[in-house]
Each structure stands twice: as C-alpha cells, then as structure tokens.
Amino acid sequence: MRRHTLPVVVALTALVLGGCGIPDESGVTVIGPGPSTGITSGSENTPDQATRTTTSDRTEFVDNYLAAAAGDYDGALDRVKEFMSPEAKSTFKPVTIPRVIRLTEKPLVSPSQPVIELDYELVGTLGRNGVLEPPKEPVEGTYEMTLGTAEDGISLYVLSAPPFLLISDTALNANYVQRTIYFWNTEHSGLVPDVRYMLRDLPIEQVPTTVISWLIEGPAPWLKSVVELLPEGTSLLGKVPAIQDQTLAINLSAQAVPTDNAADALERLRRQLQWSLRPLLPENLALKIGHQETKNYYGTDFFTSNASFRLERSPERFAVYGGKIVRLSGFPHAVEAIPAIPPQANKDIRTAALSTSGTHTYAALVTGSGRGETLRVGATPTASGQDATLRTVSGLPAGLGYPVWAITPNRTAGGAVGLIIGNGGLFSFNPEGGPARPVQVSGAAGKLSAITVAPDGHRVAIVAGGRLYRAVLAVSSDGVSLSEPELLQAPLVTVTAAAFSGEGWLTVAGVGVSKRVAVLDVTIDGALSDPRLDDLGDDTVNYVTAYPANPVNQSPSELGNSDSVSYTTADAAWDALSTAVRIDAADLAQPPGEQPAGTVPTAPLFLN
C-alpha cells in the first residue's frame, strides 16, 4: 500500500490545483458548421486584355500598346512595361497619370520601318477617380516609338516609347464605360451630373464601392465651383457589400451628415447616392450613417432631384414659320396652343426658347431683325394655362443669337436666368425683362457663336472662335457668372454649334478633318464621339438644338445621348435622323395661313 501513496498524492494535488480555473490549453472544440458558401457571380475567365505576345502584327501591336495602360490604375505602368524590351523597361520612367490621345492620322506601319510616328492630339488625362481632364492648352504632335523583334523572332518589343502612359480614344472606349455620378449644386436645388470613366471589367459588386469612393473624393475640377462636396471626413465604412435580398447596404462614417439640418442633409445624401448608383440600384437602399439606425429607402422618389428626369421621351417640338411659332405635327400636344406665348405676340419671331420648370413655363422670343431686334421674355405658372406677359429685355447689342433658358427654378419665376449671345458676347436676362447683363467669358478666344446649358442649369458648353469649350454657370447675388471655359478636343477642325444631348454628351456640328461638315455627339470631355451625320457637304450648320435624353429612360446599351436633334443651315432646318431630314411646312401641325412661297420652317426648338 505504501508504495502507491506517492502517485496518489501527486495525482490528487494536480487535480486539486489544476482542476479548477480556466485551463491553459484545450483541444479544438467544433461548435457547428460554418456558413454556407456563396455563389460566385463572375466567371473564371481572365480579362482579355492583350499582352505583348498576343500579336506579332505591328498595327495591332501598336493598338495593343496604346490600350495597355487602360485597366487597373495601379497596374498600368507594369502592363505598359510588359510590352517593352528589358532595356526600354529600365529607362521607361513615365508620368504616372495616363494620357488619353486621339490619333489624328492612322500611323504608318511597315516591318522595314522600326520607328513609328503617331500623330496625335491630346484629349486629356485620365485620373484614378475616372475623371478625364482636358488639357489646359490644345496639344497636338507626333510621338515616335520604335519596335523591335524579340529573341524568338516572332513577337515584338517596344524598344523606345514616349515617356507617357498612353491610352488611345478607341482603347478608352473599349475598356471603360461612362458612368455618371452626381453632386448637389450649391443651392441644393438639383443634382449636377459628373461623368466618369469606369473600367468595363470592374466586377459589378465593386461598382457601388467605387462610385462612393468617387463621390467622397469630390467632383471633377471643372464642377467644383458649383457643386457641394460631401462633408469633410465622410468615408465609406468597409466596402459596399454585394446586393442581397434586393438591398444595397451602405455604411458611411458619421461625418457624412452634418449635425445641423441633419434631416435635410441626409435626404440630400441619399438622393445623391441613389442617383449615383441608379443603374444598379435594387429596390432598397439601406443607408447607415456611423452607428445610427439604418434607414431604408424604397421607390423612385429620388428621381425628382435631377432636372433631367423631367425630360420627356418624346418632346414637344416647335419651329418658326413665317415669323410665328408653330408646333410640329406628330409630337405631343401637337394641336394645342403655343404655351405661354400670347397669340397676339406670336408674330415677327426669328428665334425663340421655351422652357418649363415643375411649376412655370418660360418663354424668350427674339423678334425683328437688324436694328429692330428685340428680346422679349416672360414666365407664367404652367398650371394656370394663362399666357405670360412678355417684357422686353433692354441693353442688348444687335446680332442676337438663339436665347436659352439656363436656370428655371421651381415654385417662383424669380431667379430664372436666360442666356443669349449678342454680337459675339454673352448676356444674361431674367423673365421680368429689364436690362440684360453681360456675362464675362474669359479665356475663350474669338466670338461666341453658340451656347448650350445642360438641364442641371450649371454645365454650359460654348462655341467660340470655332472651338468647343465647357464651363459652369454660377449664380450669385449679382447675376450669373461663367467659370473660365475649358477647351474640349472634339474631333472636329472647326466647331460651329453645340447643344447638350444627354448628361454626358454634347451634340456638336462643325467641319471635320476631312473638310466636310458633320454633326456628331462628343462626350462632355471631348474624348469619345458618336457619329450622327458624317457628311453634310459644305453646308455650314449654324445652329444645333437637341432635346437631352432622360437618363432614367435610357437602356444600358444606349450611350445616353439624345434622340431628338435638329439643326439649321443657312436656308433650312433639319432633323438629324439617320440622315438629315429637312423640316418642311408639311411637318407643321397647324401652319398659319398663306405664306409667301419659299417660306420654310426655321429655328426649330423644343419645350425644354
């Protein structure tokens, strides 16, 4: 018995001392099965971006090289370098921000000629945040790159290249999609679109995160003066998870909503988010600010925050015929009276602009000719059905262009602003008439020949000296002011007219490289273009008007530019359909009485 005492004592002591308390080590305890695995939305295919060895055809190789920088922003340099010979790689020290160029001429490629000259014009630089920023000055020139054959004798190398990450406009078009995000204007009256370029192969799950990060980073530089940034310190907490149960859940930091007027700010924020995420927005947006309670937003009530939403699928159309404004047949309300314009005033009209806000209808008429030119303006509540009282705007020079209504506020007619070009200068007027105010346009060389204002009321495109510019219109207590215009590199030699065609598109008319007059759509940054009418001969287009596309009605395959474009040449008004179709008297709904022979409808306009 005695010999067993020791182990028993040891065991007992160990039990007593070690038995209670939390053990130092334990085995693995399985608690239960893990959550079930999710289903992948993407396919396993790798992006089909071309690499150096994809082709040994020199033309394709150059095209591929000019597309290499397109794609994941941080990997651009590596992808470009991959095309280079080892020596070229080591010496290639480019500017980090990629340049988007448009080749003005097809490069001449021949195997015997290792050096390839690329004639280009600089469209802009493409930032990480998808902003394509046009250059301050127009840049045109020739890049030289040298190709060589690799050791294998088949594949090609870039032996030397300009020290830039280059993206051709075609590569931009192929690899990116336009994506509009929105910022509130400083008056909080509406959202201002900001067009960005998003990678085409970005997984759909990452789109919300990317969009929100863009919103947080702020608007494109040219919009900064008229839009409101998200509050300082706003940040996305985590990523935006993929849509689940028709819900998109976003968690922003507490700073996203300022403490004063929080309810309004939150309302604005959610509308901004809803618009920015709109194409993929599910039924429900679950927005959580900091650690506050999650707010769920259903439905489409946010649409009203964007003025473009009010645009009809099929606009009311008018034309001036024999000094009178008449409706075009085959369009809505074709048999009704002309809105806002009293019948007795509907005479001797040369050009006109009609616009509506949610509550009011605005009219601006240029009557007379030569020294008798007069601008008469007025506004009336739409619901009353009354005609507006037209008042004359004084102080305008002779040689008035087409008036446009830039800002048409809701509820009250006061504060509405119209713009008109007079003798190459820009003037602003308001619906109460009175003296016109000149608007300073600095930095645009040459006389103004066209102005167009986007439905948001802030983005403006002007044509001056045959060039296309964009600018923003800011409203201040002493009228309106125009920011310094930015030159856009439209693929035209001379631009004669422009009109907003959609949130990210302008319809421009001018003379192309081939010296032929063309009407085409360009993006708001001038980078991409969509041809409308390639060749109108040499019949100069002096005016273009378009009824901008409503982004809500837009299908994903559409670019988002207008279906309704009209223009005028010296002697006629035309519709830009698949070909140019002249607007004849037969197209008018109720042509007024007998007119002299040869009278044609002019100055087509839309009820904006």
Binding site: G21, V28, I31, P241, A249
Partner: protein
C-alpha cells in the same frame, strides 16, 4: 528508461522520508493513541478538509466554467457579427485574383479589430485564406499567431469548414497570455477564407483565480474554525472524563474522600454524581470492613492480654503443684504434669497470638543489624537436635564455609528457621532433613527440605494460613500453635524477603527463605531454586511464591 530511473530514485527518497517520518512522528503517534482530544480534532480537521476541499473545488471549477462559458457565448455572438461583416465585405470580390482583394481583407480586419487594447493584451483578428495561398494572412495587431492558431484548428476551420474554438496560451508581444481562439470559415464568391478571432482570457482568468483564492482562503478559515470548535467541544467532554479518571486513580490509591465536582444537570453531571455515589458507597463499605477488622484484631489482642494475667496466676499455681507432684499419688502427679505441659502450649499460643496481633496492628518493627547467618542456622538445628532424635530424623546442613553477613533481625530469622526446621522434622517421617544456605551479591537464601508426605497441589499457599492443618485429624506432636508459618511469613515480609513453599505428594516439600543482604533492598532473584534439584524427574507441582 530515464523516467523509470527517476521514479526509482524518487521512490527511494520517498522511503527514506517515510522512515524518517516514522521516527520523528513517534511522539505524535503516541499522543494520537493517548489523546481523545487530539484524535477528535484531527479527524474533524481531516474530514472537514475533505468536505470543504471537495465543495470548494466544485465551486471554483463551476465558477471558472461559467466564466468561460459566458465569454464563449459573448465571443460567439460577436464572431457571428464579424463573420457576417466579413462575408458582406468580401462579396465585392468575385475572383480571388482581384488586385483589390488584399486591401479589402486588410480593411475588413481593420474594421473587425476592436481596437480597445487593454494593457494586458487585446484581442487579435486574423483573416487567412488557406485555399488561396496567394492571399497573405492579415492579422491585427500584427503578431505571430502560429502558437495561437494550431494546425488542428486550421484543419477544422479551413478544411472541414467548421466553426471551432480552442484555448491557447502563447507569448504575444512579450507577454504570455491565455487566449480563446475562435475560428470560422467565411464564405466568399471565390471560395472560402477563414476568420480567426482571438480574445485574451486575462480578465476571466483573473476572476477565476480570485474566486479560487477566495474559496481557498474561506475553506482554510472554515477548516481551522471547525478544528477550533471541535477542540473546544471535545474539551468540554474530555475534561470531566479526565477529572473522573484522576479521581478514580486517587480513589484506587486509597484517597477515599476524593469526589468529583458536579456542575449542572447534564450527562457529565450525572456521571459525576454517580461516580461520587459509588465512591461514597465504597468508602463506607471499606471503612466498615476496616472497622470490623480492627475490632477483631483488637478483640484478639485484648483477649490475649486479658488471658495473660489469669494465666500467670494459674501458671504460678500450676508450677507450685508441679513442683510438689512427688508428694501426690501418681494419678494426680500425672495430671500435674499434663497441666504443666498444656499450660506451656497455652502460653506459647498466647505469645504467638500476641505476636500476630502486633503484626496486624502494624506495631512489628524490624531490629536489623549485620549478622552472620551461619551460626543462627547451627543454633537452631542444635536446639532441635533433641526433637529430631526423638523423631528419628537426621538433619543435614549444607552451609557455606564463609560467614554469610546480612542486615537482618537475628531474633526473627531464628524464629523463622526454627519454625521451618521444626515443621520439617515433624513432617519428615524419619527421613533426613536438609538445610541449605547460599548467598550472592544481593540476597541470601535458606532452603529446608524434607522427604515426608509432601504437599498436595494448592497447599503451597494454604500452609501459610493461620491455624491451617494439612490433616485436621492428625494430632500435634510438637505442640505447634498453627500460627508458626503465618508469623514466619510476616517476619520475612518485614525484612522485604520472601518465604515460599514447594511440595508434592510423596516427594516431600521444600521451604525457601530469601532475604536481601541489605535491609530495604528490593529482591530480584534468589540464589537457590525453590524446586529442589533432587526431586524425581517429571514430578508435577508448580512452585508457589508468597511474596514478601
């Protein structure tokens, strides 16, 4: 096997310790046997230690379990939230090769990390992708988790897709901390990653330690208290018992007036009262018996004294008649002689009775002096030569050559020897009587051996009784009074010596007188054996001793 060797060494030391322990605990064990108090207290301590220990252990273990369980539940629910969050965040990436994925994982870990770093180490969050080796493991704070996330854990979580937990103790950032490691797979569109959440159990561990300490201290205090209480209670019981024992001891030592104190009316008081009653009864009985005995002795003494005076007168008259017997007719003369002889016997009897009563009264005093015993023996045998001659008995003396000096009362020794030799001659049946003497450092022994009828078994003690007679029908030849051996025993006892008898029917008998050489010394052994060496072999009969 080094383990076995070590065990052997340990066992050897254990045995040494046990042996030493035995040696050193001997007083304790003696105390254990003797003290009821100690036993009760010790048993209480051991018993309560076991009970309190068991309950304490149970409570501490249960508390630790509860603490751990609660933490586990907390972490589990927190973990569910984390997994859901990580799942939602990672839904953004349909492909594992997405270059943004590592940054998302990084951000997710960053978000999941609690951040509240306590001073004793905070929680650790880690996301790993066992199935996507190209994805780096992200851990925040960036510590080495190899000790925390075991291969077993990885197997359970990554391969079997289970939610699992484990407790690990590892050194993290220089401090050794106990962690509860929780692992769960996070489903993603590209497969599965694993989320590990490691929460330090420092607080729970400390709480468990505090509970354990509290239970331990409380338990020890309780045990000590119980021991003290047991000690006090036992003392309440044991003290009266001890008092009773002491009182009983005193009573048995002859202090008959000892009594116990009676306190209250409880069982102990009852015991004390009963004890006291018993003692009182005993005392009364003893005193009565003593009184009776004293009265008897007094009566004997008084009768003897009272008889002496008339006897003296009768003696004088008888002496006169005896001296004048020549002048009487022969029948009268014969009566005168008879009278004379009976008067001698009567006188002797009276003397012996007086002697006995002196012994009984405790007046007998030893008049010890250094005396040579050899002459005394010779004198006695010489004086009895006549008697021996008449009985036809030869007396053989076996005495030492040298004088045997002892501190004795010669008168009493002579009386004893005379008694013994006389008796021997009387019962010798004409066979020789041997008187032997021997001495050593401490004692002198004298044996008187006869070969007469001997003694029946049991008679060895009876012979020393007063007025005892082996065969009551036999007449006395030597005129013995029946008190001789009684007086001899008293004499021997007075010396601190022994007088013993041995006898066997038909083998005769032997008496042995043993005396210490120095008066007052305690006898240990006698120089002569009681059972004679010349007795026939295999004779029965046990020696009887009458201790002095």
């Amino acid at each position: 096997m080094p383990v076995r060797r070590a065990l052997r060494v340990v066992r050897r030391y254990w045995r040494v310790v046990v042996r030493h322990g035995k040696h050193y605990t001997a007083p304790a064990r003696r105390a254990w046997r003797r003290s009821l108090h100690l036993r009760v207290v010790t048993l209480t301590l051991v018993g309560s230690s076991l009970l309190v220990g068991t309950f304490g252990w149970f409570i501490a273990a249960q508390s630790a379990n509860i603490l751990l369980h609660r933490t586990q539940e907390e972490i589990s629910s927190s973990m569910d939230g984390k997994v859901a969050y990580a799942y939602r965040q990672l839904t953004v990436h349909p492909q594992a090769r997405d270059p943004e994925l590592p940054s998302t994982i990084n951000d997710t870990v960053n978000e999941l990390f609690d951040g509240d770093q306590a001073e004793d180490g905070g929680s650790v969050v880690s996301i790993r992708a066992e199935h996507h080796r190209e994805l780096p493991a992200v851990t925040l704070p960036n510590v080495d988790t190899r000790d925390l996330i075991t291969p077993d854990m990885i197997r359970s979580v990554a391969e079997q897709g289970r939610v699992a937990q484990q407790i690990r103790t590892a050194e993290v950032e220089g401090t050794t901390t106990k962690y509860l490691v929780y692992g769960s797979p996070v489903p993603t569109k590209f497969g599965r990653v694993e989320l590990y959440y490691m929460v330090p159990l420092t607080t729970e561990d400390r709480a468990a330690d505090q509970i354990r300490t509290t239970v331990l201290v409380t338990g020890i205090a309780l045990v000590i208290l119980l021991g003290v209480v047991a000690g006090l209670v036992t003392r309440m019981v044991v003290t009266p018992v001890r008092v009773a024992a002491r009182t009983a001891q005193r009573l048995s030592a002859g202090l008959l007036d000892q009594r116990m104190k009676v306190d209250g009316e409880d069982d102990l008081a009852l015991l004390a009262a009963a004890f006291n009653q018993m003692a009182a009864n005993l005392q009364r009985q003893i005193v009565r018996l003593e009184e009776m005995s004293r009265l008897q002795r007094r009566f004997t003494s008084d009768v003897s004294h009272e008889l002496r005076t008339p006897l003296t007168t009768v003696r004088m008259a008888a002496d006169l008649i005896f001296s004048e017997r020549e002048e009487f007719d022969p029948a009268v003369a014969r009566s005168a002689e008879l009278l004379q002889a009976e008067l001698d016997r009567f006188e002797g009897l009276l003397t012996d009775l007086l002697e006995i009563s002196r012994f009984d009264a405790g007046f007998a005093a030893l008049d010890a002096e250094h005396t040579d015993l050899v002459p005394i023996v010779r004198r006695v045998t010489d004086r009895l030569t006549g008697l021996a001659g008449r009985a036809g008995v030869d007396i053989e003396l076996r005495l030492p050559e040298t004088p045997v000096i002892a501190e004795v009362d010669p008168r009493r020794v002579e009386r004893v020897l005379r008694n013994l030799v006389g008796n021997a001659i009387e019962h010798a049946e004409a066979k020789p009587v041997v008187v032997t003497m021997a001495t050593d450092e401490a004692a002198v022994a004298i044996t008187v051996r006869d070969h007469g009828i001997g003694l029946k078994p049991g008679e060895e003690r009876l012979v020393f009784n007063r007025f005892w007679r082996a065969d009551p029908s036999r007449a006395r030849q030597t005129g013995g009074t029946g008190l001789g051996l009684s007086i001899s025993v008293e004499d021997a006892r007075l010396h601190g010596g022994w007088l013993e008898a041995w006898g066997a029917p038909g083998e005769g008998s032997q008496f042995r007188l043993t005396l210490p050489v120095r008066a007052g010394d305690r006898l240990v052994a006698a120089p002569l054996t009681l059972i004679p060496r010349d007795r026939p072999a295999a004779a029965t009969g046990e020696p009887a001793e009458v201790a002095g």
